[in-house]
Homo-oligomer: 120 residues x 2
Amino acid sequence: MKISAAESLVMEAVWRKNPLAAEEISAEVAGPQGWTEATVKTLINRLLKKHALAATRDGRRYLYRPLVARADYVGAESQGLLDRLFDGRLAPLVSHFSEKGALTAEDIAELKKLIEGFEP
Amino acid sequence: MKISAAESLVMEAVWRKNPLAAEEISAEVAGPQGWTEATVKTLINRLLKKHALAATRDGRRYLYRPLVARADYVGAESQGLLDRLFDGRLAPLVSHFSEKGALTAEDIAELKKLIEGFEP
DNA sequence: CACGAACGTTTACCGATGTAATCGATAGGC
DNA sequence: GCCTATCGATTACATCGGTAAACGTTCGTG
């Protein structure tokens, strides 16, 4: 099942550090998003139903851990974008940014280094 | 206003060739998506309300043309992904794909050529 | 001139999502 | 042992998005 935008912010918190209690997740995301704790609770529950989070009891509360790896989520989202907009290929995306003049010198240096690094 | 996934397929048709009549847009997208013409009509109307399409009368029908450039749409979607998942930077995205072993030799060659090409 | 076909417009409906309050159980303090 | 604060679970509700049918208007044809 798909992780929604709001839900992904909860996942990010748990990916950064886990396991986390609901209260800790709230502390991480509620403020920045202007959410109440109730909202975070709802998101946590939806993620449990989607098997994106696991809960283990810890006394009176639960501790939550991710069941999907961030790399998998990131990979699916990225591949989805490439497929929808760039014919599934990475080079046209890079090309798009360069044509837009959206690459800093640092970006270019970084890319250069990367690409030299992974020759076969 | 945001262009949804289904709506974007209509936009793609109009970006490929325009202006197009509703019937022509349907011919392009309804079949592949398993949509009826009614569905395409709805999407066209929502895009008109969002000012993503413009319509000019042509006898009994309308002809539609895009009001947003594909490059703008692609740019916003891409930047959004980078911001949400890669700290707004391009290199980590490329790095992600390479680490996943998701780059073919051709991809690498293409990227190499691109990056050599756009030195400042 | 009336009727029907072809358009666009309006309305419908359901599931997902964002956002949150309320309910119910339970554990700790008095 | 009982009450209350604290959790998680349940319920709520509005909007959006996907999908489509019904409606209304107009133009061409018989």
